[in-house]
């Protein structure tokens, strides 16, 4: 019964989405306010209906209702409750349902908080959002319906892929989708603005918080995915340039560029056409990512099932929205009035450099990811483009932007003083150079010779970011109390920028550290055997059998000693899952601030247990860095000036308040 309610809600949501996509748009053309207003209840209703459908499917999972085909295919009665709930999106159908749920959530948020938007703009934005909803609801209902019943009801389910039975499943996909789908907001605003023929500061004020929110989620989602792959796959790596990883990384790069260019539209009324184009590109890349992952054209852990019909359907959606938006752009963009003038050395100029390199880097990733697919489609030749391609192209393209990043926030709008800025950054330059030299000296020629420079680059980003804060609060120039007062009065977005840029620096240090100085051993160990890695002595203490909720486990226990002191024990195991008859490896990790000791076991043979040991220096910095970046974004988002939903009022208020405080 509940399943049928869910199924029916989904169909109603589709009908409502059709209304949302058409009536407000017509209303906006005719200037009919009643028609435009109907977008709001339609958007809210669509969200509620999809939520009912989602809850209904979750209920079927939680109660292990195997008369529902989707539950039977992907669940089992003995599966722990955490994976019964998160297993809802651990399969193709359920994950698409999550996708449209989040899409409808964003629509409902605009409907609820968008009271200050011009009525015609709000109507058009919600109509575009509704049109995306129509396409994906239709996709779910036609090709990927999770509510199909089975008769007779099977006794038990086929269980979830054991690789996905991990707490990571509860967080990684929802965050990733909140990011992916969040860019639909920027897209809808861009298309609506193109139809209206008006892009101005108020528009940018609207787009930026949504983009920023999506960016924060995507940053967290990608970082969690990377962390999950790191500890679950047992390969000791954190990023593989796998097409599916790239599919999430490309919207992130475009979204990062969009965040920066929307700033120029907001503050200086320039770069309007480009910003609109970026908004379209960011969501297009999200759609392409969805296509790559969901169509099964790729060989990947994320490809749940291969069904050509689905691929063709998503490809049609893709062509319609991307093609339509780009045609609209080509037609309407020339009507956008060019904005304020600026000299090449200025905040605007710096943000253009940021945009140029980010989009070029994104294009390089795009080519590497999609070239094999194009080549196969055209010539039938099968090739793959591996990690070396991405390392060799992405890194050099990103280098200028990393070098330039600390300068940007110092520069003033319109025209800036490059020399003065360089002087303000002297301390940061000194820190970077000193860091490079000391790392170089400490290593004494060990490892790649470029690595110390990479560490210097990371230090430069961190020190450069904080230099700006120190300069703004006049640290060491005025009394300490005055500095504190100034720091407290700095807008949160300022702190946000600093943290985000510093986070990139921390991330760079982590990447360089683990890439350059990772040590790895492959051993065959008998119980009692020891091995020395980095400055740790690892002793293998033997295998212990253990029983999990739905698997049997063979656990290898290792003891770690450093400088004669016992640090602790850690374990790696092989799990054999009852239902899927499949083995997974669980890695053991001891994380220190400056690196991870990582162990993964192989088979137990006549010459002992195969053990793979790594010491991954600085690898935690990768996730620290990503967290700091996300935190910076969050701080910016809470800035009063950016508050979602009340841009115009907030603008007035903050002016009044500024007057009141000065």
């Amino acid at each position: 019964m509940i399943t049928e309610i869910g199924h029916f809600s989904l169909l109603l949501a589709l009908a409502l989405a059709v209304v949302q996509a058409s009536v407000p748009m017509m209303g906006a053309v005719r200037g009919d306010h009643a028609m435009m207003r109907c977008a709001v209840p339609a958007a809210n209703g669509q969200f509620i209906l999809i939520l009912i459908a989602f809850v209904a499917l979750t209920y079927a999972y939680v109660t292990s209702d195997f008369s529902v085909e989707n539950v039977w295919m992907n669940s089992h009665s003995a599966k722990p409750m955490l994976y019964k709930v998160s297993g809802v999106w651990g399969n193709h159908e359920g994950s698409m349902l999550l996708w449209v749920l989040i899409l409808a959530l964003f629509g409902a948020l605009v409907a609820t908080f968008g009271r200050n938007l011009a009525p015609s703009l709000r109507a058009r934005v919600l109509a575009v959002q509704g049109a995306i909803g129509v396409a994906f609801l239709l996709f779910i209902i036609v090709t990927s319906n999770p509510f199909i019943r089975l008769n007779p009801t099977p006794i038990d389910g086929k269980d979830l892929n054991p690789l996905l039975q991990d707490p990571g499943l509860a967080f990684h996909p929802p965050f990733l989708y909140l990011g992916y789908v969040g860019f639909s907001m920027a897209f809808s605003f861009a298309v609506a603005a193109l139809i209206e023929g008006r892009v101005d500061a108020a528009w940018a004020r609207w787009v930026r918080p949504w983009t920023l929110a999506a960016w924060i989620f995507l940053t967290c989602g990608i970082a969690m995915g990377s962390w999950w792959a790191y500890y679950e796959l047992g390969w000791g790596g954190w990023w593989f340039w796998d097409p599916v990883e790239n599919a999430s990384f490309m919207p992130w790069l475009a979204g990062t560029a969009l965040l920066h260019s929307a700033l120029v539209v907001e503050k200086r009324d320039a770069l309007k056409a480009w910003t609109v184009l970026l908004a379209i590109i960011a969501f297009s890349l999200s759609l392409i990512g969805t296509f790559l992952v969901r169509s099964g054209v790729l060989t990947s852990v994320h490809a749940f099932a291969v069904d050509p019909e689905r691929g063709v359907f998503i490809l049609a959606i893709l062509t319609f929205f991307i093609g339509g938006a780009l045609v609209l752009f080509a037609w309407r963009a020339p009507t956008l009035r060019p904005g304020g003038m600026f000299s090449p050395v200025s905040r605007e100029g710096a943000l253009i450099i940021n945009n140029l390199f980010l989009t070029v880097a994104c294009a390089a990733v795009f080519i590497g990811t999609l070239y094999p697919l194009f080549l196969e489609a055209i010539t039938g030749e099968k090739i793959s483009v591996g990690a070396p391609f991405f390392d060799m192209t992405f890194a050099p393209i990103m280098l200028p932007i990393l070098l330039a990043a600390p300068f940007g926030p110092f520069l003033t709008w319109k025209r800036a003083d490059l020399r003065g800025t360089a002087e303000r950054l002297l301390v940061a330059i000194a820190i970077a150079v000193f860091g490079t030299i000391s790392v170089y000296a400490a290593l004494d020629g060990h490892g790649p010779y470029l690595a110390p420079i990479g560490i210097g680059l990371g230090l430069w980003l961190v020190a450069g970011a904080f230099s700006e804060i120190l300069w703004r609060v006049k640290a060491f120039q005025v009394s300490f109390g005055e500095t504190l007062r100034r720091a407290a009065n700095l807008p949160r977005s300022q702190w946000g920028t600093t943290l985000a840029h510093a986070g990139v620096g921390v991330l760079v240090i982590g990447i360089i550290g683990v890439s350059a100085w990772k040590t790895e051993q492959i051993l065959e160990m008998e119980p009692g055997d020891q091995s020395v890695i980095a400055d740790f002595t690892v002793t293998y203490n033997g295998l212990v059998p253990r029983r999990g909720p739905n698997y049997d486990e063979t656990v290898a226990i290792f003891e770690v000693v450093r400088e004669g002191k016992l640090i602790g024990a850690f374990e790696s195991s092989k799990r054999f899952y009852d239902v899927q008859r499949m083995t997974t490896t669980e890695a053991g990790i001891i994380s220190f601030f400056f690196g991870d000791l990582y162990v993964a076991i192989g088979d137990d043979g006549p010459r002992g247990l195969t053990v793979r040991l790594w010491f991954n220096p600085l690898v935690p910095f990768i996730w620290f860095g990503a967290s700091i970046m996300a935190l910076g974004g969050l701080l910016s988002l809470t800035d009063r000036r950016l508050r979602v939903g009340a841009p115009r009022r907030a603008l007035l208020h903050s002016k009044v308040q500024q007057k009141a405080t000065t």
Partner: protein, 144 residues
């Protein structure tokens, strides 16, 4: 600077960055492409020893041998031709005889393949797409 001059200088700068990056991408792509082959493609194609390849097929039944130092030797077959593959390291959990596999590495020039990466399928009812297609091409595909 006038608006026009600004725009032109911007475009020139963008064009410079774009062409430099395009050159970088294209040259790297040419050097880094890894072709996929099935064992029976080897007769038709001349492959220089040392060129990176992906070899895909089934792990031949009964061919897996383990040696000291984690050295592993097995045969990859598309049921028409067979190639012997050597690999040092830990095999993926789903590596099994009779199952699909993709090995990445180089041909040693003496008919063998030296792999440095082994990719196996991710779940029970999943076969690497390239392997499935290669088997279909040779007409030995059996769908279950």
């Amino acid at each position: 600077m006038t608006r026009k001059q600004r725009r032109i200088s911007l475009l020139i700068a963008a064009a410079l960055v774009l062409s430099a990056s395009a050159t970088l991408v294209i040259t790297t792509l040419q050097n880094q492409i890894v072709y996929f082959v099935a064992p029976s493609d080897l007769d038709e194609q001349k492959i220089a020893p040392g060129q990176r390849m992906r070899l895909g097929g089934l792990v031949a039944e009964g061919s897996l041998d383990r040696y000291a130092g984690q050295k592993i030797i097995f045969d990859v077959t598309d049921l028409v031709q067979t190639v012997s593959v050597s690999y040092t390291g830990i095999l993926p959990d789903l590596f099994r005889e009779g199952q699909g596999v993709v090995a990445e590495g180089v041909f040693d020039g003496a008919g063998g393949f030296k792999a440095d990466t082994i990719l196996a399928k991710h779940d029970e009812n999943y076969m690497p797409k390239e392997v499935a297609e290669a088997l279909k091409e040779k007409g030995v595909w059996q769908s279950n």
